[in-house]
């Protein structure tokens, strides 16, 4: 995910990896990707206008570099459709228990993903006509409210667990979310 630093075109490696996992249901038993899966992955990256993608998994390393920035589309949409149909806990799509490698460590440090702690409805603002808690590009502090998830009139205010910039909002107002679904990607302001 080298393009994450290109202004405004950040993608969380996690979101894309989730998609890769979910799209490639026919993974080989060894966990590698077949030609068909790679084709699918490329289509997916095209669809989403992801410029560069790298995945390393059980000894197989795949790196996809797409055309020049001009061809990637300057107005790349940053919100992805929900991936709610496949629960995160499904073992078939669980991330591989691989030893942490430099790439993945760097990725998880770069973007902090806020996930939904429960099934419910996502609200980006405290009331229907009120301004949103946050928008993309906002800098948030620890404990700042980001959204509300409602289940059965239980309103769960989700606060940011890190200080940093909101680089991506994965869901839209009023949309249903699943347990563990990614809600926000935050780029922490201080690296350790």
């Amino acid at each position: 995910m080298r393009d994450r630093r290109e202004g405004g075109r950040d993608f969380s490696s996690e979101g894309v990896m989730d998609m890769a996992r979910k799209r490639s249901k026919r993974e080989t038993p060894e966990g590698g990707l077949g030609l068909k899966e790679i084709k699918e992955l490329i289509d997916l990256l095209k669809d989403r206008q992801v410029a560069e993608f790298e995945l390393e998994k059980r000894g197989t390393k795949i790196r996809i570099l797409r055309a020049s920035p001009a061809e990637r589309g300057a107005n790349a949409p940053l919100s992805l459709p929900p991936l709610a149909s496949i629960p995160e806990s499904d073992a078939r799509f669980a991330p591989p228990p691989a030893a942490p490698r430099a790439e993945t460590v760097e990725a998880s440090e770069d973007l902090y993903i806020i996930k939904s702690p429960m099934v419910g409805t996502f609200y980006g603002s405290p009331a229907p006509n009120a301004p949103a808690f946050v928008k993309q590009g906002d800098v948030v502090r620890v404990g700042q409210p980001l959204c509300i998830i409602e289940a059965m009139k239980l309103m769960n205010e989700i606060e940011s667990e890190v200080a940093g910039e909101v680089v991506r909002i994965y869901v839209e107002n009023g949309q249903p979310v699943e347990y563990g679904e990614s809600l926000f990607a935050i780029k922490p302001s201080h690296k350790k």
Partner: protein
């Protein structure tokens, strides 16, 4: 000029001025002062307690002053304020004060006296006036707001409902309460608490007013089709751990009439029973039932709550409803609750689906 100064809760220190009418029995709140009051001075609580213990007996002013540790002037000021809230205190010149009837004010000492040793209500914070008891409860640290803390207000200036809607919070007519729980549950299991709370309110109303409210999913209490209680639950949690769940429970108790715009959808216990109901008794029953249903949930899981809810609500099965979600509206028929309390519905012309969040109303 009297100045009512109270210790504010937490980080804000607030003052509120009261003008005392010279020679008259009137106390008016300085309306220019918009900020909420702090919690009720515990000495006011003791004053009421003292008068209540000696109801129908004249208690000398100096005795009250020395027992609660304030000046005689302050005692007089507080008595004036309590009178303004409807407490029936007779002042007898040069002698003392007489409480003619037990006050229906939800001060901690009176509430706690009804509760025994239970966890819910072990700590009670009372406000004569505040913006929202839920906001106060959510803002309490674990030290200031241990599990079971209850925040009460005689009046809310910004009582809230779902999605920023207003909750009509007329002075001393309703119960405006927030119960703070710190349950050992994952956030994903907390939603059933909203059903347990509805059962607790229903039981409290049954015991004190003799009414058997219907429950509209998930937790509106209706008498003759009109709302008598609403519950807004707010949670602070991490992915796997709850910091706090606040059950904001409003009950319309002694409203003689509701504002015109609410009359077709809301009612009060007094309107339905035709007699005034003790708010103190309703609240005490509510807190006892909350404790009982909370323990039931922790000890035996969702099943008994779901079962009782289903037995108590006409909305559980076979009810024609209109569903209003953030994204769409449609008609459906109810088909029971799932194991987590979500409502199974059959959409007109569609299959069965699960309603997790949204508003429903009966289609007649």
């Amino acid at each position: 000029m009297g100045v009512w100064e109270e210790r504010a809760c937490g980080h804000r220190t607030l003052r509120n001025s009261f003008r005392l009418g010279r020679g008259k029995d009137s106390v008016t709140v300085d309306s220019a002062h918009r900020e909420p009051n702090g919690p009720t001075d515990h000495r006011v609580d003791r004053l009421i307690h003292l008068l209540a213990e000696n109801a129908m007996v004249i208690v000398p002013g100096p005795k009250i002053a020395s027992e609660i540790g304030v000046s005689r002037l302050r005692v007089w000021q507080w008595v004036e304020k309590l009178r303004a809230l409807g407490v029936d205190i007779q002042g007898i010149p040069a002698t003392g004060y007489l409480l003619r009837t037990l006050p229906d004010i939800l001060v901690p000492s009176l509430v706690r006296a009804e509760l025994g040793g239970q966890e819910i209500g072990r700590k009670i914070l009372h406000y004569f006036k505040t913006e929202s008891t839920n906001d106060l409860a959510l803002g309490l640290s674990p030290r200031d707001g241990p599990h079971g803390t209850v925040v009460l207000a005689e009046e809310q200036t910004a009582g809230r409902g779902r999605l920023g809607r207003k909750w009509h919070s007329e002075k001393s007519s309703g119960i405006y309460s927030s119960t703070l729980l710190r349950p050992p549950l994952p956030p994903s299991a907390a939603a059933v608490l909203t059903l347990a709370a509805a059962l607790a309110v229903r039981e409290a109303i049954r015991q004190t007013a003799g009414l058997a409210p219907d429950i509209r999913w998930p937790n509106d209490l209706l008498v003759n089709g009109k709302k008598v209680s609403g519950i807004l639950t707010e949670m602070k949690a991490e992915v796997d751990r709850i910091h706090a769940v606040v059950l904001g429970i409003g009950v319309n108790v002694n409203h003689k009439a509701l504002p015109a715009e609410l009359r077709s959808i809301a009612t009060s216990l007094r309107i339905e029973c035709g007699r005034p109901i003790s708010r103190l008794q309703v609240l005490a029953a509510l807190l006892k039932e909350l404790e009982r249903h909370y323990r039931l949930l922790l000890d035996r899981g969702n099943a008994p709550i779901i079962e009782r809810w289903t037995a108590a609500s006409s909305y559980a099965t076979g009810k024609r409803i209109h569903v209003r979600k953030a994204s769409e509206e449609f008609n459906a028929v109810t088909a029971g609750l799932d194991g987590g309390g979500a409502l199974r519905i059959r959409r007109d012309g569609g299959g069965e689906e699960l309603l997790v969040a949204g508003e429903i109303i009966e289609v007649k």
